[in-house]
């Protein structure tokens, strides 16, 4: 990274941290209640500091930063609200995956999401000259509800991403029933019934569609998990100093110290994995490992944070139980961890 890029990186990460402290964290409960006005306000603030175009080059109005910078910013935002952080992640991934001319048509302040089509059952593709008719179903696309557009990635589309507006003929967006995590990014199931779209040419941007996009999404989920866990840790540590039981602050009880120590160790452990460059290494295995490790750690850390709070942690008011719900979704998206582990092994070749 050149000196100027590093400066820009630090500046933007700092700006996201400030924004999160100032505007997002105080609104976490409203975001968790899927309050659209609060979301719109936070989204506008995120756009104002350029968080909606992190990966785009300056010709497309972006900051021209790379995935590592995006991930660092998403982690900061996740410490405030994971749903908003996921929306930021998927929006940036969507724009990076779309062809330049489609991105150029995306107005300021719009929000897009990314739909990763499942391997099975696959989307069906009928190719005619210069266009494709796509059919099938893509379950649980976070943030698709209320989005201005969705970039669809599927093996059948090869390196092309299909950019669809909600009004696209043949596209139905079905809201998902109540979701307990990432509630600021309400998910939907996309049903495509012969959606017609020009097949895009391969995208010149380093992120590009297909496997690379999926890798970035997984690495993004890993950093979201770490952001959630960091917040849980801060809240639990603070509470352990202020709550007294047995005549002393509870941090003096071995049982509580043990919980906190476990949390700290988890955070330390996933730090390098989530941050490093699960993405930069350009390695599917590392992104999968990062997502599995970080999300398992986040579930453990947030559950222990609730435990440190005792009964108060179970109450919505303290905001800790929300972190637990958000963390669980990191374990389930873009695929449940047991499936991710299965794919992880496939990333390694037999040693010679």
């Amino acid at each position: 990274m050149s000196a100027t890029t590093t400066d820009l990186h630090d500046e933007m990460v700092g700006a996201v941290r400030d924004l999160t402290r100032r505007e997002v964290t105080p609104c976490a409960a409203a975001l968790d209640a899927s309050d659209r006005e609060t979301f719109a306000h936070c989204w506008a603030s995120a756009c104002a500091i350029g968080l909606d175009r992190v990966l785009l080059n300056d010709k497309l109005g972006g900051a021209g930063l790379g995935p590592a910078e995006l991930l660092a910013m998403v982690e900061e935002m996740a410490a405030g609200d994971a749903g908003l952080a996921i929306a930021v992640l998927l929006h940036n991934v969507a724009l990076a995956a779309l062809p330049a001319e489609a991105v150029a048509a995306v107005a300021d302040g719009e929000r897009w999401s990314v739909a990763l089509a499942p391997q099975a059952p696959p989307l069906a593709l009928g190719v005619m000259t210069g266009s494709a008719r796509v059919s099938g179903r893509i379950p649980f696309v976070p943030g698709a509800l209320g989005a201005d557009g969705v970039a669809i990635l599927a093996p059948c589309l090869g390196s092309a991403a299909l950019g669809l507006r909600p009004t696209a003929p043949g596209l139905t967006i079905q809201p998902n029933p109540s979701q307990m995590g990432w509630r600021a990014a309400p998910a939907a199931t996309l049903v495509l019934d012969g959606v017609d779209n020009a097949v895009a040419t391969p995208v010149p941007h380093p992120v590009g569609p297909g496997a690379e996009t999926t890798r970035l999404v997984r690495a993004g989920v890993a950093v979201v998990a770490r952001g959630i866990a960091r917040r849980a840790w801060e809240l639990a540590l603070d509470y352990a100093h202020s709550r007294h039981q047995g005549g002393v602050p509870i941090i003096e009880h071995g049982a509580v110290r043990d919980l906190l120590a476990g949390m700290a160790a988890h955070l330390e452990g996933v730090g390098p994995v989530a941050m490093s460059g699960a993405w930069l290494a350009g390695d599917d295995g590392r992104a999968l490992a990062a997502k599995v490790l970080a999300s398992d750690a986040a579930v453990a850390v947030t559950s222990d944070a609730v435990q440190v709070f005792g009964g108060a942690g179970y109450m919505c008011e303290t905001g800790v139980e929300k972190l637990m719900r958000d963390a669980m979704y990191c374990r389930l998206y873009p695929e449940p961890n047991w499936l991710a582990r299965d794919q992880l092994v496939g990333c390694f070749e037999r040693p010679r």
Binding site: P139, H244, G246, G310, G311, M315, L332, L339, R341, D342
Partner: protein
Amino acid sequence: MSERGASGTASASRSLVEAFPRFRAGDRSTVRVLGDVRERARAFAQQHVQPLALEIDRRAAADPRYVDWDLIRAGCEHGLLSLAIPTAASGQGGLAREMCVALEELCAACPGVGNIFGAHGLGLLPLLATGVTHWDGVLRDIAVAERQGRPVLMACAVTEPDAGTDVEEADLMRRGRITSQARPVTGGWRLTGTKRFISNGSLAEWITVCMPFDPQRPAETWTCFLVDARSEGFSVGRVEHKMGQRACPAAELVFDDVFVPDDLVVGRPGDGMPTTYLVLAASRPAVAAIATGIARGAYDRVLTWLEHEPALLGRQQVQLALARMEEEIHLARQSYLDAATELDVMISPALRHPLVRAMGLVPPAARRVPRVRRWITSPRSGQATVALLHRTMTNRAVTRSLALSSLAKAHAADVAMSVTGLALELAGLDSGDIRAELEKLWRDAKLTQIYEGTNQLNRLTVYRGLSRGETMQALPPSRRDLVGRQP
């Protein structure tokens, strides 16, 4: 391919002896009685509770005061409110084992609804632990009202804003900050203070509440009172928005100089801590059963869903996960039954004692004759109850029972968390309607690691009672040890 056995589907269809193989060698009448309770609870759970569970959860999320009284009334038809009330007080005479098998069934359908009945049982426990005094008052009223289809609910209020873990053990209480206080006045007591997170607190007509009468010696003067929720000075404060088990509201209860007559003191003044130990010995297996039910509910649902996903079911990772769930649920279930059995066996000699049996033979009407009633609620009768406890059980036996109960509670709660988490992971986000159900069970499960003492506190109790073989002062002091304790 091998054929699937009759019990190869969801564990909900298994018989009592399949769930508890030890009963194959057990006595038939226990199997019959427990099997009957289980069937009744299961019928209610499956017909009434399960279909409404998600809807109630949704409504209570929007308004934590929301309660489905129709459902509780339906529970009356299945005798769920009088299950643990002695037969001499018109109840069914169930003990810890009956409560546990019923709670597993209810909580496999909806832990929040299950906890309404569980918290009611918790409210009753101090009355049961202190002898015959309340047979002809509240206990009989609950049983009679239930038969008329009118639910009378109870709650038990111990936790305070500044003292949660601290009210669960005498040593901690001495160092803690208890702010409630009971003041002796002519003819009774005046209670002041705030209790928080009280399950059923906003629904109960009667509340068993503990407070000290000397804040300098809270553990020695901790006393249990029976409070009528219509009493002047009593009010319900905030009802909490919580993560799960939403069907059962948790409320703050405010006591502002509430008068309680002497005959509604539960046990002797100052016996609150030993009463708490006995109550916890009975309520922790119940929480273990709630947790087992939650785990089983998640397991049943994911197994049923997987029946339609043969490709997934064919994968070893999925098979191993299911086997792991089966294993954990089985062990959790055995541990709650062990703890409940230990307790039931420990208290049985007291229940079978000739004095208690004789009292049971006296017609209720005769027990309500003022002179008899005065004797039943007199300090002498209280002393007699304590003497009876000392004759039929020991401090060591209660300590052991409490430790075994704490073991079951902490273990089953962890099982509930891991099984619901695994089930959710197997099903994933694209599992349609069951996703919401599994998410709910996972949210519900977390509470079992917290209430009736956090798992950490429960494990410290296991250490003291089993690893170190310590004997707690778990029985109310006998008469000669009482010197200097009067208010």
